[in-house]
Amino acid sequence: MKNAARHNDCDRESLARFQSSLLDLLDLGLPPDMVIARLKEDPALESFHEYIDGFEPRMVEVAQELVKKWGRRR
């Protein structure tokens, strides 16, 4: 498994929480810097902090547009 140790490992439950929190925050219409800050404020997402540190605000903005255009809630 090449380079899979690049990011700290996590468990499935925290991965699910990260993905859910990410979509929720992208959907709120916040400034991208605030989306990044809110992700890092959540203690349950500590294992993703290194990954989140690499987020570029301009790409978070793109993700917000994608969620706005294609996102469907249950």
Partner: protein, 285 residues
Amino acid sequence: MLEDDFARSSFPLFEEGVIDALEWTVDAGWTPAGVPRWAADLLDFFGKNERLYGHGLRFSVLSADGIEDRNRWLDRLREEVCTRKYMRFSEHFGFMRAGRFSDCAPLAVPYCPQTVEVGRENMLLLSDAASVPVGLENLAFAFGRQDVADQGAFIEDLLSPVDGFLMLDLHNIFCQSVNFDTPVIELLAAYPIFRAKQLHVSGGSYSQSSHQPKTRHIRRDTHDSAVPAELFELVPHVLKLCPNIDTVIFERLGNTIADSGQEKQFQSDFRRLKEACVATSECLQ
């Protein structure tokens, strides 16, 4: 494919007999309206002639939850592959379902042992349901440079247990090249291109970020415009780099071909792409 503008623009190409293969996004037909007769006949024809390729949109290979949605989608796929013959089946790298969201566009995921485990589990389920070789399409979107750097190795880790194929999307690679100032050839070097069996070629668009100088735009994989000249220049090189590619798919979203000028551009792009493929194939023989 089901939209009027797409049908109108592509019918002349079907009538000329210049379309050798068809890729069908199966989820598009899983609606209450189903698949119209003309489209079903087209899919059946290409299926019977072993020239039909399946593509999924909503499986969400890297979602950690949403198991019930996943299993429902797999049940639909099992029904689909009993309805018509697909030569291969691909899905998208990334996740698009989590928590309150049942659906979204694919987004990137951190590359770590747990996410690889989730993806491998789902690829095995996909392979079992599809009953044909399965593959993954590379993603245009990345949250940052790390996603760009990791995607090739991550995809290989997901494909190797199922001996899967790479659905190489050249426009998605182009988007990352533009957005992260990395040459296309350098990006391709990080991918398991020996696994590339199919190539996607499409157009896209630029959007402006509030976080960049106004002179710099972000390339988006919107599938809504002409194929950029850079891609036509790249196609022969990519086909030589990836000798196992046997099918090239020209992609376009429906409801994006607004007038006769764009119809002609769509048809011209297809013909130019086909000429490039034929010319490269003759060179390689």
